[in-house]
Symmetry: none
DNA sequence: CATGAATGAGTTTTCATTCAT
DNA sequence: TATGAATGAAAACTCATTCAT
């Protein structure tokens, strides 16, 4: 039911999606949808939240939970971990492009009332903040404003995902992200700049 | 009339905007709106296009047209120009945050049928491509894939604008962009990375 | 349109009435109904108010406006005028039984938010109050509590109208009222009571 | 369960009452309500009938059953008994104002399919008829049309109850009825009329 | 040309009723 | 027998679009 809603919302958008269609394709009565979610908006927001949990789980699976992540950072360094996270996002969204559409509708219709993107989640932000702080302390990262660096990192990922999943470009998000994150980490400027 | 529509669409979104309200606030009859734009979608798309022309004009005014731009590049170098363009965008969107909303609705509802962002415009892309190519030739920019670098540049600007204009953060887009573009150009990684 | 609504509301009741049906039978689009009345409740309340104006006009036509009424009272006395008013009501409701149903729905659904009966209208009440006061002064009416007497008078009329217009009894309201008002004015008790 | 239904129906009206709410507040499953009453209408009608039994019992308790009533009539006379009955009604409805609302909805939605008011019950009517007949025979009551007098008596009680229980006036029904029935029995007109 | 009243297709939402457990 | 999740018919209401004035 949530999966059907996800598909329909992603395909038609919030307003053009007809709850009747969602119910039909989910093989349940319309009343059942309303019984479970209360109204169309709640149904959509439940989708939004679900999407976010999915990215979160996907990325965590790549990077590891707490201890594993700490170990990874020690092994490969914060820069490599930042790259790993970005690439995990790219993989996820390339695999589930519908979630990108949900994210956009969420921003468009509800202006971020529920965070639909990993980087809008305070927990995630804190993690990135810590990572960057540690990187700076270790000399692996330049002396940048941590908060703004996290913003920039999130903005790049967000922008790449949104623009890399426009119709026709869907299959190339991973590659797009790879180049983008490389420039972000190492800089566009040449040595003599 | 277009300005009123811009305001209403930005405030209410495409579907929630009522053509009657736009007509009323513009001080014209509803029929007049339809006479001029054909239908609601065209009205919105006209707005989208108009927004793009406004950013375009604003940035051009900052950077200069053709010859002036060439001169500027020669003077300050391609890296500085890339920064100048990004900052011009930030200034513009901070000044006219409604256009950000239009851009998002355009992406959400019409999936980019009309480019509503500077970086979605092929003409702009070509300019950036040339700029980067020249920078590489001059050694000011690393040997990156030009097309992907342009993508990354656009994605970062897009992401910063969208996320920097969420309610509450509107006044800080310029600062946000400044940090973001600095990292993008010079890299997040420290010397010993 | 109002007349059609009156008929349908009277026939089906507030909730069972379908605005679509009203629109159809009135020969207009449903949107037109909503354009004019805002919503179903307003449409109904407009009916209520209209009914009251109709009774009011009918009774005034029988009794006369201000001066004429004063003249009539002087001629036939307050008791006869009270009877005349009650009979005018009976005649009206026997002629337009649908208005009785409206009155009941108004009381049931909206608990008298708009006075739907003549006797619920403060203007009318004041008139009756004056009439009774004058009657008492002239010795034609017993020394009763004026306010309560007006209540009682209104209650009797209301009760007779409601119960006299139940299905099957519609044609007999005038006769029913005649007996009722006679008892009310002259008393049920016999001389030796 | 019936008591809960009574409360909800009185508060919300027939259509606005939600069977789910009734079931919830009664602490039973919705299915149980349907098992017992068949459908919403039957549930309401059962309430109606129950209300009538309650007034009936209340009044009978005041006046006495058959023999007692006969004795009472002999003692105080038919006029006093008519007053006693009316006052008993007033007391009852002032004490249980929800039953008034039920009565109105019954009249509005079902047009008296089940008598919800004492005076709509043929048994009661017969009793009043007898009382009046006896009163006439004894000279305590004027030579009126018995059937119409019973009508008038019922109409006055009905009107007083309905109008005396509108929001705000609930506490004053007894007083209202006292004045009304006094006028009804003794007449509004003064001696010289 | 401009207008705005009329329209009705399209959607959301509710809730009485059923029936498998 | 009691339950309450599932259902879908029914209705209110909106608003883009048209077209007569």
């Amino acid at each position: 039911m949530l999966e059907t809603a996800l598909r329909i919302f992603a395909r038609d958008g919030f307003h053009n999606a007809d709850v009747q269609v969602i119910a039909d394709e989910a093989g349940v009565g319309k009343g059942t949808v309303y019984r479970h979610f209360g109204n169309k908006q709640e149904l959509f927001l439940a989708n939004s939240a679900h999407c976010m949990q999915m990215v979160d789980a996907f990325v965590r699976n790549r990077v590891g939970d707490e201890e594993k992540a700490a170990k990874l950072i020690a092994e490969v360094g914060p820069i490599a971990v930042l790259k790993k996270i970005a690439m995990a996002c790219a993989e996820f969204y390339q695999k589930y492009p519908e979630t990108v559409e949900i994210m956009i509708y969420e921003r468009a219709e509800f202006r971020g009332s529920v965070p639909a993107h990993l980087m809008f989640r305070s927990e995630t932000r804190n993690g990135i903040d810590e990572l960057i702080k540690a990187g700076i302390a270790a000399g692996a990262i330049r002396h940048v404003n941590v908060n703004e660096a996290t913003n920039a990192y999130g903005d790049l990922i967000f922008g790449s995902v949104i623009n890399g999943c426009l119709a026709g470009a869907k299959a190339k998000l991973v590659r797009r992200m790879e180049h983008a994150i490389d420039i972000f980490l190492n800089g566009l400027a040449g040595d003599q700049a």
